[in-house]
Protein backbone atom coordinates (compact mmCIF):
# COMPACT_ATOMS: atom_id res chain seq x y z
CA UNK A 1 0.00 0.00 0.00
CA UNK A 2 2.79 2.43 0.96
CA UNK A 3 6.33 2.17 -0.24
CA UNK A 4 8.99 4.66 0.79
CA UNK A 5 12.34 4.39 -0.97
CA UNK A 6 15.55 6.24 -0.06
CA UNK A 7 13.60 9.12 1.43
CA UNK A 8 15.77 12.04 2.44
CA UNK A 9 14.74 15.49 3.61
CA UNK A 10 16.78 18.54 4.38
CA UNK A 11 15.23 21.94 5.03
CA UNK A 12 18.39 23.99 4.88
CA UNK A 13 20.44 21.95 2.42
CA UNK A 14 23.01 20.97 5.07
CA UNK A 15 21.51 18.87 7.85
CA UNK A 16 19.36 15.90 6.93
CA UNK A 17 16.19 15.73 9.00
CA UNK A 18 15.28 12.42 7.37
CA UNK A 19 18.11 10.11 6.33
CA UNK A 20 17.51 7.46 3.69
CA UNK A 21 14.29 6.01 4.97
CA UNK A 22 12.94 2.79 3.48
CA UNK A 23 9.61 1.44 4.62
CA UNK A 24 6.93 -0.77 3.13
CA UNK A 25 3.49 -0.74 4.69
CA UNK A 26 0.87 -3.27 3.71
CA UNK A 27 -2.84 -2.76 3.40
CA UNK A 28 -4.61 -2.94 6.75
CA UNK A 29 -1.53 -2.30 8.84
CA UNK A 30 -1.86 0.11 11.71
CA UNK A 31 1.59 1.63 12.06
CA UNK A 32 2.46 3.77 15.06
CA UNK A 33 5.54 5.97 14.91
CA UNK A 34 7.23 6.76 18.21
CA UNK A 35 10.25 8.87 18.96
CA UNK A 36 11.53 11.84 20.92
CA UNK A 37 10.69 15.36 19.93
CA UNK A 38 12.45 16.67 16.85
CA UNK A 39 13.42 13.32 15.39
CA UNK A 40 11.49 13.86 12.17
CA UNK A 41 8.23 11.99 12.80
CA UNK A 42 6.00 14.77 11.55
CA UNK A 43 8.31 15.43 8.63
CA UNK A 44 8.13 11.79 7.59
CA UNK A 45 4.35 11.75 7.81
CA UNK A 46 4.03 15.01 5.89
CA UNK A 47 6.27 13.71 3.14
CA UNK A 48 3.66 11.01 2.55
CA UNK A 49 1.24 13.57 1.15
CA UNK A 50 3.85 16.07 0.05
CA UNK A 51 2.76 18.76 2.49
CA UNK A 52 6.49 18.66 2.97
CA UNK A 53 8.44 18.03 -0.20
CA UNK A 54 11.15 15.42 0.20
CA UNK A 55 14.63 16.27 -1.01
CA UNK A 56 15.23 12.84 -2.42
CA UNK A 57 13.62 9.45 -2.87
CA UNK A 58 10.33 8.05 -4.04
CA UNK A 59 6.99 7.46 -2.40
CA UNK A 60 4.25 5.19 -3.59
CA UNK A 61 0.76 5.07 -2.15
CA UNK A 62 -1.74 2.80 -3.83
CA UNK A 63 -1.29 3.19 -7.55
CA UNK A 64 0.56 6.50 -7.48
CA UNK A 65 4.29 6.66 -7.35
CA UNK A 66 6.12 9.95 -7.13
CA UNK A 67 9.78 10.87 -7.24
CA UNK A 68 11.19 13.83 -5.36
CA UNK A 69 13.41 14.80 -8.24
CA UNK A 70 10.87 14.84 -11.01
CA UNK A 71 7.14 15.27 -10.57
CA UNK A 72 4.34 17.60 -11.57
CA UNK A 73 1.62 19.34 -9.58
CA UNK A 74 -0.77 16.77 -10.95
CA UNK A 75 1.34 13.94 -9.52
CA UNK A 76 1.13 15.56 -6.09
CA UNK A 77 -2.64 15.92 -6.39
CA UNK A 78 -2.89 12.28 -7.36
CA UNK A 79 -0.72 11.18 -4.47
CA UNK A 80 -2.87 13.17 -2.08
CA UNK A 81 -6.02 11.55 -3.37
CA UNK A 82 -4.94 8.27 -1.75
CA UNK A 83 -4.59 9.57 1.78
CA UNK A 84 -6.09 11.96 4.29
CA UNK A 85 -4.53 13.52 7.35
CA UNK A 86 -5.64 14.37 10.87
CA UNK A 87 -3.62 17.22 12.35
CA UNK A 88 -2.38 17.94 15.82
CA UNK A 89 -4.15 21.32 15.84
CA UNK A 90 -7.26 20.01 14.04
CA UNK A 91 -6.97 22.70 11.34
CA UNK A 92 -10.69 22.80 10.76
CA UNK A 93 -12.00 25.42 8.35
CA UNK A 94 -13.10 28.17 10.71
CA UNK A 95 -15.68 29.63 8.34
CA UNK A 96 -17.49 26.31 7.97
CA UNK A 97 -19.74 24.38 10.31
CA UNK A 98 -18.95 20.85 11.46
CA UNK A 99 -21.06 19.44 8.64
CA UNK A 100 -19.58 21.80 6.04
CA UNK A 101 -16.07 20.88 7.12
CA UNK A 102 -16.81 17.22 6.52
CA UNK A 103 -18.49 17.62 3.14
CA UNK A 104 -16.18 20.32 1.77
CA UNK A 105 -14.01 17.87 -0.15
CA UNK A 106 -17.01 15.86 -1.32
CA UNK A 107 -18.48 18.95 -2.95
CA UNK A 108 -15.23 20.50 -4.06
CA UNK A 109 -13.25 17.47 -5.22
CA UNK A 110 -15.67 14.59 -5.71
CA UNK A 111 -18.29 16.93 -7.23
CA UNK A 112 -21.08 15.31 -5.28
CA UNK A 113 -24.43 17.04 -5.04
CA UNK A 114 -25.11 18.81 -1.78
CA UNK A 115 -27.79 16.29 -0.91
CA UNK A 116 -25.57 13.24 -1.44
CA UNK A 117 -22.71 14.90 0.40
CA UNK A 118 -24.91 15.68 3.37
CA UNK A 119 -26.17 12.13 3.53
CA UNK A 120 -22.59 10.93 3.82
CA UNK A 121 -21.87 13.78 6.24
CA UNK A 122 -24.64 12.64 8.55
CA UNK A 123 -23.30 9.09 8.62
CA UNK A 124 -19.83 10.34 9.51
CA UNK A 125 -21.14 12.72 12.16
CA UNK A 126 -22.95 9.76 13.67
CA UNK A 127 -19.82 7.64 13.57
CA UNK A 128 -17.76 10.21 15.49
CA UNK A 129 -20.65 10.93 17.84
CA UNK A 130 -21.18 14.51 16.77
CA UNK A 131 -24.65 14.49 15.22
CA UNK A 132 -25.96 17.00 17.74
CA UNK A 133 -23.22 19.49 16.87
CA UNK A 134 -23.53 19.36 13.10
CA UNK A 135 -24.30 23.06 12.63
CA UNK A 136 -21.72 24.34 15.10
CA UNK A 137 -18.73 26.35 13.96
CA UNK A 138 -15.32 25.10 15.16
CA UNK A 139 -14.96 28.05 17.53
CA UNK A 140 -17.97 26.73 19.42
CA UNK A 141 -16.56 23.21 19.83
CA UNK A 142 -14.18 21.75 22.39
CA UNK A 143 -10.79 20.48 21.27
CA UNK A 144 -11.93 16.89 21.45
CA UNK A 145 -15.03 17.65 19.41
CA UNK A 146 -13.00 19.54 16.84
CA UNK A 147 -10.63 16.64 16.49
CA UNK A 148 -13.49 14.19 16.00
CA UNK A 149 -14.76 16.43 13.20
CA UNK A 150 -11.19 16.42 11.86
CA UNK A 151 -11.32 12.64 11.77
CA UNK A 152 -14.72 12.64 10.06
CA UNK A 153 -13.42 15.13 7.49
CA UNK A 154 -10.51 12.81 6.73
CA UNK A 155 -12.80 9.80 6.45
CA UNK A 156 -15.14 11.60 4.06
CA UNK A 157 -12.79 11.27 1.10
CA UNK A 158 -12.59 7.50 1.67
CA UNK A 159 -8.81 7.50 1.81
CA UNK A 160 -6.85 4.31 1.36
CA UNK A 161 -4.49 5.51 4.08
CA UNK A 162 -5.19 7.64 7.13
CA UNK A 163 -2.37 9.76 8.51
CA UNK A 164 -2.48 11.02 12.09
CA UNK A 165 0.03 13.49 13.46
CA UNK A 166 -0.22 13.45 17.24
CA UNK A 167 -4.00 13.79 17.14
CA UNK A 168 -4.36 14.08 20.91
CA UNK A 169 -1.36 16.06 22.05
CA UNK A 170 -3.09 19.45 21.85
CA UNK A 171 -5.97 18.18 23.99
CA UNK A 172 -6.71 18.55 27.66
CA UNK A 173 -6.17 15.16 29.32
CA UNK A 174 -9.87 14.60 29.97
CA UNK A 175 -10.64 14.95 26.25
CA UNK A 176 -7.99 12.52 25.01
CA UNK A 177 -10.15 9.46 25.63
CA UNK A 178 -13.00 10.40 23.31
CA UNK A 179 -10.62 11.01 20.42
CA UNK A 180 -8.61 7.83 20.99
CA UNK A 181 -11.75 5.73 21.10
CA UNK A 182 -12.88 7.31 17.82
CA UNK A 183 -9.55 6.42 16.24
CA UNK A 184 -9.78 2.91 17.61
CA UNK A 185 -13.23 2.51 16.12
CA UNK A 186 -11.89 3.52 12.70
CA UNK A 187 -8.91 1.19 13.10
CA UNK A 188 -11.20 -1.74 13.80
CA UNK A 189 -12.96 -1.20 10.51
CA UNK A 190 -9.83 -2.29 8.68
CA UNK A 191 -8.34 1.03 7.73
CA UNK A 192 -4.66 1.41 6.89
CA UNK A 193 -3.17 3.93 9.28
CA UNK A 194 0.06 5.68 10.02
CA UNK A 195 -0.09 7.33 13.40
CA UNK A 196 2.50 9.52 15.05
CA UNK A 197 1.79 9.52 18.76
CA UNK A 198 3.15 9.98 22.22
CA UNK A 199 0.48 7.72 23.68
CA UNK A 200 2.50 4.53 24.08
CA UNK A 201 -0.30 2.63 25.76
CA UNK A 202 -2.61 3.51 22.93
CA UNK A 203 -0.04 2.47 20.35
CA UNK A 204 0.26 -0.90 22.06
CA UNK A 205 -3.50 -1.30 21.99
CA UNK A 206 -4.25 -0.52 18.36
CA UNK A 207 -1.00 -0.76 16.39
CA UNK A 208 -0.05 -3.85 14.47
CA UNK A 209 3.43 -2.47 14.02
CA UNK A 210 5.57 0.17 15.68
CA UNK A 211 8.38 2.21 14.19
CA UNK A 212 10.78 3.97 16.49
CA UNK A 213 12.62 6.98 15.10
CA UNK A 214 15.76 8.69 16.29
CA UNK A 215 17.73 11.42 14.55
CA UNK A 216 15.96 11.06 11.24
CA UNK A 217 16.21 7.32 10.88
CA UNK A 218 14.09 4.36 11.83
CA UNK A 219 16.08 2.51 14.43
CA UNK A 220 13.49 -0.09 15.39
CA UNK A 221 10.65 -1.67 13.47
CA UNK A 222 8.48 -4.48 14.76
CA UNK A 223 5.32 -5.66 16.47
CA UNK A 224 4.23 -3.81 19.64
CA UNK A 225 5.57 -6.73 21.73
CA UNK A 226 8.96 -6.66 20.03
CA UNK A 227 9.30 -2.91 20.37
CA UNK A 228 7.75 -2.27 23.77
CA UNK A 229 8.44 -5.50 25.69
CA UNK A 230 11.76 -6.59 24.23
CA UNK A 231 13.48 -3.43 23.00
CA UNK A 232 16.98 -4.03 21.63
CA UNK A 233 18.13 -0.57 20.59
CA UNK A 234 19.73 1.50 23.37
CA UNK A 235 17.94 4.72 22.40
CA UNK A 236 14.60 2.92 22.32
CA UNK A 237 15.24 1.47 25.79
CA UNK A 238 16.02 4.92 27.14
CA UNK A 239 12.96 6.39 25.42
CA UNK A 240 10.70 3.74 26.95
CA UNK A 241 12.25 4.07 30.40
CA UNK A 242 11.63 7.75 30.28
CA UNK A 243 8.13 7.67 28.80
CA UNK A 244 6.54 4.63 30.39
CA UNK A 245 7.79 5.11 33.93
Amino acid sequence: MIEIRDLRKSFDGRTDILKDINITIKKGEIVAILGSSGTGKSTLLRCLNYLTKPTNGSIRIGTTSIDAKKHTKKDIMELRSHSAMVFQNYNLFKNKTAMENIIEALICINKKSKKDAQRIGLQLLEKVGMLDRKDFYPSKLSGGQQQRIGIARALAVEPEVLLFDEPTSALDPELVGEVLSTIQKVAQEGATMVLVTHEIMFARKIATRILFMAEGTIVADGTPEEILDFPKDERLKRFLDYNVN
Binding site: S83, F87, N91, A105, C108
Partner: protein, 220 residues
Protein backbone atom coordinates in the same frame (compact mmCIF):
# COMPACT_ATOMS: atom_id res chain seq x y z
CA UNK B 1 -27.32 86.09 10.20
CA UNK B 2 -28.35 82.48 9.85
CA UNK B 3 -31.38 82.32 7.59
CA UNK B 4 -33.43 79.38 8.76
CA UNK B 5 -35.97 79.42 5.98
CA UNK B 6 -33.24 79.63 3.35
CA UNK B 7 -31.54 76.66 5.05
CA UNK B 8 -34.70 74.57 4.90
CA UNK B 9 -35.22 75.67 1.33
CA UNK B 10 -31.72 74.81 0.10
CA UNK B 11 -31.34 71.58 2.07
CA UNK B 12 -33.64 69.49 -0.18
CA UNK B 13 -32.15 71.09 -3.29
CA UNK B 14 -28.69 69.88 -2.29
CA UNK B 15 -29.99 66.58 -0.93
CA UNK B 16 -31.65 65.93 -4.27
CA UNK B 17 -28.14 65.05 -5.54
CA UNK B 18 -27.81 62.35 -2.93
CA UNK B 19 -28.44 59.82 -5.62
CA UNK B 20 -25.41 61.01 -7.64
CA UNK B 21 -23.11 60.82 -4.63
CA UNK B 22 -24.42 57.45 -3.52
CA UNK B 23 -24.35 55.80 -6.90
CA UNK B 24 -20.83 57.12 -7.49
CA UNK B 25 -19.79 55.73 -4.11
CA UNK B 26 -21.36 52.33 -4.66
CA UNK B 27 -20.11 51.93 -8.22
CA UNK B 28 -16.58 52.83 -7.18
CA UNK B 29 -16.89 50.60 -4.09
CA UNK B 30 -17.75 47.54 -6.16
CA UNK B 31 -14.86 48.08 -8.58
CA UNK B 32 -12.53 48.89 -5.68
CA UNK B 33 -13.30 45.60 -3.97
CA UNK B 34 -12.68 43.68 -7.17
CA UNK B 35 -9.40 45.51 -7.75
CA UNK B 36 -8.52 45.15 -4.08
CA UNK B 37 -9.09 41.39 -4.06
CA UNK B 38 -7.11 40.84 -7.26
CA UNK B 39 -4.15 42.90 -6.09
CA UNK B 40 -4.23 41.39 -2.61
CA UNK B 41 -4.23 37.84 -3.99
CA UNK B 42 -1.36 38.67 -6.34
CA UNK B 43 0.52 40.07 -3.37
CA UNK B 44 -0.38 37.08 -1.21
CA UNK B 45 1.04 34.59 -3.69
CA UNK B 46 3.72 36.98 -4.92
CA UNK B 47 2.79 35.91 -8.46
CA UNK B 48 5.99 36.30 -10.45
CA UNK B 49 5.82 39.20 -12.91
CA UNK B 50 2.44 40.61 -11.78
CA UNK B 51 3.67 41.27 -8.27
CA UNK B 52 6.16 44.06 -9.08
CA UNK B 53 3.56 45.70 -11.30
CA UNK B 54 1.03 45.81 -8.48
CA UNK B 55 3.64 47.16 -6.07
CA UNK B 56 4.36 49.98 -8.49
CA UNK B 57 0.64 50.66 -8.90
CA UNK B 58 0.12 50.79 -5.13
CA UNK B 59 3.10 53.04 -4.66
CA UNK B 60 1.83 55.57 -7.22
CA UNK B 61 -1.80 55.59 -6.10
CA UNK B 62 -1.01 55.78 -2.41
CA UNK B 63 1.87 58.15 -2.88
CA UNK B 64 0.10 60.96 -4.75
CA UNK B 65 -2.90 63.16 -3.87
CA UNK B 66 -6.27 62.08 -5.17
CA UNK B 67 -6.90 65.52 -6.64
CA UNK B 68 -3.68 65.28 -8.62
CA UNK B 69 -4.72 61.84 -9.85
CA UNK B 70 -8.11 63.18 -10.94
CA UNK B 71 -6.56 66.09 -12.82
CA UNK B 72 -3.79 64.02 -14.32
CA UNK B 73 -6.27 61.47 -15.56
CA UNK B 74 -9.02 63.75 -16.77
CA UNK B 75 -7.04 66.68 -18.12
CA UNK B 76 -3.59 65.20 -18.57
CA UNK B 77 -4.40 61.91 -20.25
CA UNK B 78 -7.04 63.62 -22.38
CA UNK B 79 -4.16 65.15 -24.31
CA UNK B 80 -2.84 61.77 -25.32
CA UNK B 81 -5.89 59.53 -25.27
CA UNK B 82 -8.97 59.81 -27.43
CA UNK B 83 -10.88 57.61 -24.96
CA UNK B 84 -10.25 59.87 -21.99
CA UNK B 85 -11.00 62.94 -24.07
CA UNK B 86 -14.47 61.65 -24.86
CA UNK B 87 -15.11 60.38 -21.35
CA UNK B 88 -17.93 61.82 -19.25
CA UNK B 89 -16.63 63.49 -16.07
CA UNK B 90 -18.71 61.18 -13.91
CA UNK B 91 -17.15 58.11 -15.55
CA UNK B 92 -13.68 59.53 -15.13
CA UNK B 93 -14.27 60.23 -11.45
CA UNK B 94 -15.69 56.75 -10.90
CA UNK B 95 -12.67 55.23 -12.59
CA UNK B 96 -10.05 57.19 -10.69
CA UNK B 97 -11.85 56.66 -7.39
CA UNK B 98 -12.02 52.91 -8.08
CA UNK B 99 -8.33 52.74 -8.87
CA UNK B 100 -7.47 54.79 -5.83
CA UNK B 101 -9.74 53.09 -3.30
CA UNK B 102 -8.84 49.71 -4.82
CA UNK B 103 -5.25 50.35 -3.83
CA UNK B 104 -6.25 51.02 -0.23
CA UNK B 105 -8.68 48.13 -0.07
CA UNK B 106 -6.04 45.73 -1.37
CA UNK B 107 -3.92 46.52 1.67
CA UNK B 108 -6.89 45.98 3.96
CA UNK B 109 -7.67 42.63 2.34
CA UNK B 110 -4.02 41.58 2.33
CA UNK B 111 -3.98 42.00 6.09
CA UNK B 112 -7.00 39.73 6.29
CA UNK B 113 -5.46 37.12 4.01
CA UNK B 114 -2.34 36.96 6.15
CA UNK B 115 -4.45 36.41 9.25
CA UNK B 116 -5.67 32.99 8.00
CA UNK B 117 -3.41 30.36 9.52
CA UNK B 118 -1.43 28.05 7.27
CA UNK B 119 -2.88 24.98 8.99
CA UNK B 120 -6.21 25.46 7.25
CA UNK B 121 -4.47 25.77 3.91
CA UNK B 122 -2.60 22.54 4.60
CA UNK B 123 -5.88 20.87 5.47
CA UNK B 124 -7.35 22.02 2.17
CA UNK B 125 -4.26 20.84 0.31
CA UNK B 126 -4.28 17.40 1.91
CA UNK B 127 -7.93 17.00 0.90
CA UNK B 128 -6.88 17.69 -2.67
CA UNK B 129 -8.29 21.19 -3.08
CA UNK B 130 -6.56 23.43 -5.58
CA UNK B 131 -5.07 26.77 -4.54
CA UNK B 132 -7.89 28.58 -6.31
CA UNK B 133 -10.56 26.57 -4.48
CA UNK B 134 -8.75 27.14 -1.20
CA UNK B 135 -8.46 30.87 -1.59
CA UNK B 136 -12.04 31.22 -2.79
CA UNK B 137 -13.77 28.97 -0.29
CA UNK B 138 -11.58 29.09 2.80
CA UNK B 139 -9.15 31.99 2.84
CA UNK B 140 -11.06 34.92 1.31
CA UNK B 141 -14.25 34.53 3.35
CA UNK B 142 -12.21 34.61 6.54
CA UNK B 143 -10.04 37.42 5.24
CA UNK B 144 -13.10 39.57 4.50
CA UNK B 145 -14.35 39.06 7.97
CA UNK B 146 -11.05 40.20 9.46
CA UNK B 147 -10.76 43.10 7.00
CA UNK B 148 -14.31 44.31 7.54
CA UNK B 149 -13.48 47.26 9.85
CA UNK B 150 -10.74 48.58 7.62
CA UNK B 151 -12.80 47.99 4.46
CA UNK B 152 -15.58 50.10 5.96
CA UNK B 153 -13.01 52.70 6.80
CA UNK B 154 -11.95 52.70 3.14
CA UNK B 155 -15.59 52.90 2.09
CA UNK B 156 -16.21 55.94 4.25
CA UNK B 157 -13.10 57.59 2.88
CA UNK B 158 -14.40 56.82 -0.59
CA UNK B 159 -17.75 58.43 0.18
CA UNK B 160 -16.01 61.57 1.35
CA UNK B 161 -13.65 61.53 -1.61
CA UNK B 162 -16.56 61.57 -4.07
CA UNK B 163 -17.03 65.20 -3.02
CA UNK B 164 -14.03 65.98 -5.22
CA UNK B 165 -16.09 65.10 -8.28
CA UNK B 166 -17.31 68.69 -8.49
CA UNK B 167 -13.79 69.66 -9.55
CA UNK B 168 -14.44 67.96 -12.87
CA UNK B 169 -17.86 69.57 -13.09
CA UNK B 170 -19.97 66.71 -11.75
CA UNK B 171 -23.15 67.81 -10.03
CA UNK B 172 -23.12 65.75 -6.92
CA UNK B 173 -23.97 67.08 -3.46
CA UNK B 174 -20.86 69.20 -3.40
CA UNK B 175 -21.29 70.37 -6.99
CA UNK B 176 -24.88 71.37 -6.34
CA UNK B 177 -23.84 73.27 -3.22
CA UNK B 178 -21.19 75.12 -5.15
CA UNK B 179 -23.62 76.25 -7.81
CA UNK B 180 -26.20 77.33 -5.21
CA UNK B 181 -23.49 79.31 -3.48
CA UNK B 182 -22.57 81.08 -6.69
CA UNK B 183 -26.13 82.42 -6.88
CA UNK B 184 -27.00 83.26 -3.30
CA UNK B 185 -23.64 83.62 -1.54
CA UNK B 186 -25.28 82.08 1.55
CA UNK B 187 -22.28 79.84 2.14
CA UNK B 188 -22.97 79.22 5.81
CA UNK B 189 -26.40 77.66 5.29
CA UNK B 190 -25.29 75.82 2.16
CA UNK B 191 -22.16 74.20 3.53
CA UNK B 192 -23.84 73.46 6.83
CA UNK B 193 -26.38 71.48 4.84
CA UNK B 194 -23.53 69.72 2.99
CA UNK B 195 -21.80 68.84 6.26
CA UNK B 196 -25.00 67.45 7.73
CA UNK B 197 -25.78 65.33 4.68
CA UNK B 198 -22.32 63.74 4.55
CA UNK B 199 -22.33 63.24 8.27
CA UNK B 200 -25.65 61.40 8.18
CA UNK B 201 -24.38 59.25 5.32
CA UNK B 202 -21.26 58.30 7.25
CA UNK B 203 -23.34 57.49 10.33
CA UNK B 204 -25.52 55.29 8.13
CA UNK B 205 -22.50 53.40 6.79
CA UNK B 206 -21.12 52.94 10.29
CA UNK B 207 -24.44 51.59 11.45
CA UNK B 208 -24.50 49.15 8.54
CA UNK B 209 -20.99 48.07 9.52
CA UNK B 210 -22.12 47.37 13.07
CA UNK B 211 -25.00 45.23 11.86
CA UNK B 212 -22.71 43.22 9.58
CA UNK B 213 -20.15 42.84 12.33
CA UNK B 214 -22.73 41.47 14.69
CA UNK B 215 -23.93 39.02 12.05
CA UNK B 216 -20.37 37.81 11.56
CA UNK B 217 -19.85 37.48 15.30
CA UNK B 218 -22.84 35.17 15.55
CA UNK B 219 -21.37 33.01 12.85
CA UNK B 220 -17.85 32.21 13.84
Amino acid sequence: MFDLSYFFGVFPVIASKLQVTLSLTLTAAIFSIVIGVIIAVIGYYKICFLYPITRFYLSILRGTPLVAQLYFFYYGLARVSEIVLNMKPLTAVALVLSLNTGAFMSESIRGGLLSVDSGQKEAAAMLGMSELQTIKRIVLPQAFRVSLPSLFNDLINLLKATSLAFMLGVRDIMGQAKSEGAQSFRYFEIYLAVMIIYWILVLGFSHFHKIMDRKCMDMY
